[in-house]
């Protein structure tokens, strides 16, 4: 997030797109509702009439895979009505003319055809966003999990820049991160091209710094992403796969393919708290301590670094992940020992400018939002205050492109997937909670009444879904929150697993799979 959670309270307009906030980020949703109550306007864009839509001034129920067209349409109307922030554009952005040229073609009527949204709603939403002094955009995987995900994010940034909403309190471009420490995992260099703090592996000065500190020779070759790793395994280039605290057998698209890959790899190590679907395929399984059993830090969606504290003992011989990794490194010849995670943080801080002022001592008293360059710096509530990080904000206009997989006679429905309130990711934790299983016991597929009637399906029927990659049996939930021709499945469940059906086609830039759009067929089981 460029901005902070608490700032939502003072936003004039809240634009939620591709985020089922009340189910996936319930506490942020509560704060949004508080803002709405205090007078903020709200726009919601989603293929399903989610709970937040009930609070919206305008609800745009768009077809999956048409975000860019919608965003371009909004910009078209804003420019046409002169609602853009001319001063901001002049002083803080570049490439505006190109954007203007591109969005010219996205009239409300054309966008309406692509997205399936009433042109009037598009105009109304554009007015609400354009007229707001401070408008924040909040999005999640509904934007990113498309082959055009990166371009959709750029389009969001275009819209925010157009109305002068970047570098402003209670506004901004705000991806809500799904997992507790996905921000931190990225910050710490859990990416193939990035050392901690997004310092690029191919920059010689960066490499020198880390080589000096670590006393080892590092590779300057950008590594493989998950999808590329799987491919490399199939091509026998990767022999040894180590998975820590992840469950690709449930979370990744095209499960049959994942299973084939994990089966094929020469040697698989899995480190986790339970014997997950993935762990049960491993050659070695290592028992890890869970969050309440170890010390450390998490970095949340608003870049806030916070302490995690050991409260109870880990079961049996389970150990904190960092300890296991340290033991392996020691056995491999790196003698560095850390007595406590605070010592690891000290090393991180010495190498990572954006974490430069972090210490466990400070974290005892406060939480810190990076960038926090030195120990006297209070942390950063919202980014780009004085100027956009790269200097001027660059408009990156993008055209609407259809999803990788489109419907046809054999697979006439669009399947989109997501999370629900009562479960979390692959259910490793929540699947073992009695109460949650009572409230959300099994997998299901949401089908519009019209679609269901055409197929002779009734609420509660067992149905079979087929895609080009596999088939799944699940329970039909007939509902009017989803449009005719679109169906939705939560991906958490390993029985009735949505990801057997999903497409592993990826966005070429960010390598994100298109989990939000797959063509399927449904039959009564």
């Amino acid at each position: 997030m460029t901005n902070s959670i608490q700032e939502i309270k003072n936003a004039d307009t809240i634009f939620i797109i591709g985020s089922n906030t009340s189910e996936n980020h319930p506490v942020i949703a509560a704060i949004m509702k508080q803002a709405k109550r205090a007078g903020a306007k709200m726009i919601v864009a989603d293929p399903r009439r989610i709970e937040m839509a009930e609070y919206a001034d305008v609800f745009l129920q768009l077809k999956p895979g048409t975000n860019i067209a919608l965003l371009n349409g909004l910009m078209h109307v804003i420019i046409e009505k002169g609602l853009q922030d001319e001063n901001y554009i002049k002083e803080r952005t570049e490439n505006y003319e190109e954007l203007k040229e591109l969005v010219k073609g996205y009239t409300p009527e054309r966008v309406s055809e692509i997205c399936g949204v009433d042109p009037e709603y598009i105009i109304k939403a554009a007015e609400i966003y354009g007229e707001a002094p401070k408008a924040g955009i909040y999005y999640t995987m509904g934007i990113t999990q498309h082959t055009t995900g990166t371009h959709a994010v750029m389009s969001i940034s275009n819209l925010a820049l157009l109305c002068g909403n970047v570098g402003v309190e209670s506004a901004g471009v705000n991806p809500l991160r799904g997992q507790n420490n996905v921000q931190g995992a990225c910050d710490m260099g859990g990416l193939p091209a990035d050392l901690p703090g997004y310092q690029k592996v191919f920059k010689p000065e960066v490499l020198d710094k880390f080589q000096d500190s670590w006393g080892s020779k590092l590779s300057n070759k950008v590594g493989l992403t998950i999808t590329e790793m799987f491919k490399a395994i199939e091509e026998d280039q990767v022999k040894f796969l180590y998975i820590m605290g992840e469950n690709p057998m449930v979370s990744d698209p095209d499960t049959n393919h994942v299973e084939h890959v994990l089966d094929h790899v020469d040697f698989l190590v899995v480190q986790d708290i339970f014997l997950t679907e993935t762990a049960s395929m491993a050659d070695v399984v290592l028992p890890a301590a869970a969050f309440a059993e170890k010390d450390g830090t998490f970095t949340n969606t608003e870049r806030r670094i916070q302490r995690v504290r050991r409260a109870v003992e880990a079961p049996g011989e389970a150990k904190a992940d960092w300890m296991i990794l340290m033991d392996i490194m020691n056995r491999m010849g790196d003698e560095t020992r850390y007595s406590h995670p605070a010592r690891i943080m000290a090393e991180i801080v010495s190498l990572t400018p954006s974490y430069g002022g972090v210490s466990y001592k400070r974290l005892e008293k406060e939480s810190l939002q990076w960038p926090v360059p030195n120990e006297n710096h209070p942390g950063t509530k919202y980014l780009h205050k004085a100027a956009i990080a790269r200097g001027r904000g660059l408009f990156m206009p993008a055209e609407h492109v259809a999803s990788a997989e489109i419907t046809n006679d054999e697979y006439p429905l669009i399947l989109t997937t997501g999370r629900i309130l009562y479960h979390y990711h692959t259910m490793t934790m929540t699947g073992r909670e009695e109460g949650l299983n009572k409230l959300a016991p099994h997998s299901y597929v949401e089908i519009n009444e019209t679609t269901a009637n055409k197929l002779g399906i009734e609420d509660g029927d067992m149905v079979k879904l087929y895609s080009r990659r596999g088939e799944v049996q699940t329970t039909a939930l007939v509902t009017d929150i989803i449009d005719d021709g679109v169906v939705f499945m939560p991906f958490h469940y390993s029985e009735g697993k949505a990801n057997i059906l999903t497409n592993s086609a990826i966005d070429e830039i960010a390598k994100i799979p298109e989990l939000k759009v797959a063509a399927v067929r449904i039959e009564k089981a």
Partner: protein, 347 residues
């Protein structure tokens, strides 16, 4: 604004309530219905104070300080009034502190002790008993409810769910779900934010393990579910978490969701991995750390020698700490010599 409280002069900003003013100077005023996040309701009337020249007593939570105000927070008249209120409340409250789960963390109990109310003297009929056990995570016992309204206001003003409200009037008033459908059939999303603010034992979490508040210790930590990173206090008895309370002084401002508030039992689930396992003859068998790590490192050395650094790939975790992640990429980059590190940021 110059204000005199209990004979001493203080300065406060305009718009400060008398209750806030007192708390700023470290004066403890009893209140059962106040919550700084909510619009003051003045319903419990326990915070009333005497203001010179104002006639009757006034509730401190709804009265703002004025220039020259002279306030008495613990005069005989105030104390008598508070004692009467507590007497009335406890007269309509079951005396079950012996076994009540809330005992030791109950504000009614605290104030009765502070104001010397040992039992109710009003011999009236008790409110109609009503018990709702239908939610998997918490129970509602109307007999213990003191109608402070905190649960209803939090559900409405902060959580925006409006699952519960007041039903009936006068002595028959009750907190209830619309149309008496019960919590199970209401719009309740089990966030538990009402349970977190209940000052008495009316809304109680269903804990797997029996515990008393005085047996627990507290550890502040960060929730491990979504990216909001709510701060919370784990209440621990022995080696087990028995309750979770949201932090009120953090960015989540005392709010949590069903996962953060109630879903911590997985930690002590019998399926937890307790020993390393190594595949032998196609089957995973438990072993010690030494053997497991030996198997891994000898394989690492073998692969590195035979196929080179880029034959390794690793998925680090968005679920683990920063320190865990740092160590993971350091193992791959520094020890194994490859940048083949990624994680599920995209999923």
């Amino acid at each position: 604004m110059q204000v005199t409280i209990n004979g001493k002069q203080y300065d406060f900003d305009k718009g400060t309530t008398v209750l806030k003013a007192c708390s700023e100077i470290g004066l403890d005023i009893p209140t059962l219905c106040n919550d700084e996040r909510l619009v003051p309701s003045g319903s419990c009337r326990l915070c009333q104070v005497e203001i010179e020249g104002w006639g009757k007593l006034h509730t401190a939570c709804t009265t703002q300080v004025r220039e020259g105000m002279v306030i008495h927070t613990h005069s005989d008249r105030v104390i008598k009034a508070r004692q009467d209120l507590l007497d009335m409340l406890i007269s309509n409250h079951p005396l079950e502190c012996l076994t009540c789960e809330k005992s030791g963390a109950c504000k009614l109990q605290d104030y009765c002790y502070e104001y010397g109310i040992t039992e109710g003297t009003y011999r009236w009929e008790m409110s109609k008993p009503y018990f709702d056990d239908t939610n998997p995570f918490y129970t509602f016992d109307a007999r213990k409810c003191i109608l402070c309204g905190l649960c209803v206001r939090v559900c409405d003003e902060l959580q925006g769910t409006n699952a519960i409200g007041f039903e009936n009037r006068g002595f028959d008033t009750q907190v209830a779900t619309p149309f008496g459908e019960g919590l199970e059939n209401s719009t309740c999303v089990s966030c538990g934010n009402c349970v977190s603010v209940c000052p008495v034992g009316a809304l109680e979490p269903k804990s797997k393990k029996k515990f008393r508040h005085w047996e627990t210790r507290t550890v502040r930590t960060t929730c491990s579910y979504c990216g909001v990173g709510c701060q919370m206090d784990l209440k621990i008895k022995g080696n087990e978490i028995v309750e979770v309370q949201p932090a009120f002084d953090a960015h989540n401002e005392g709010l949590l969701c069903v996962k953060g508030k109630f879903s911590y039992n997985f930690l002590s689930h019998p399926d937890r991995l307790k020993k390393p396992m190594v595949r032998k003859d196609g089957v995973l068998v438990e072993t010690g750390w030494d053997e497991a790590l030996d198997v891994i490192t000898s394989k690492m050395k073998e692969v590195k020698k035979e196929f080179g650094s880029d034959a390794f790939a690793g998925l680090t975790s968005a679920r683990c700490t920063n320190e865990d992640n740092y160590m993971f990429q350091k193992l791959f980059r520094s020890t194994l010599g490859t940048n083949n590190v990624d994680h599920c940021a995209r999923l």
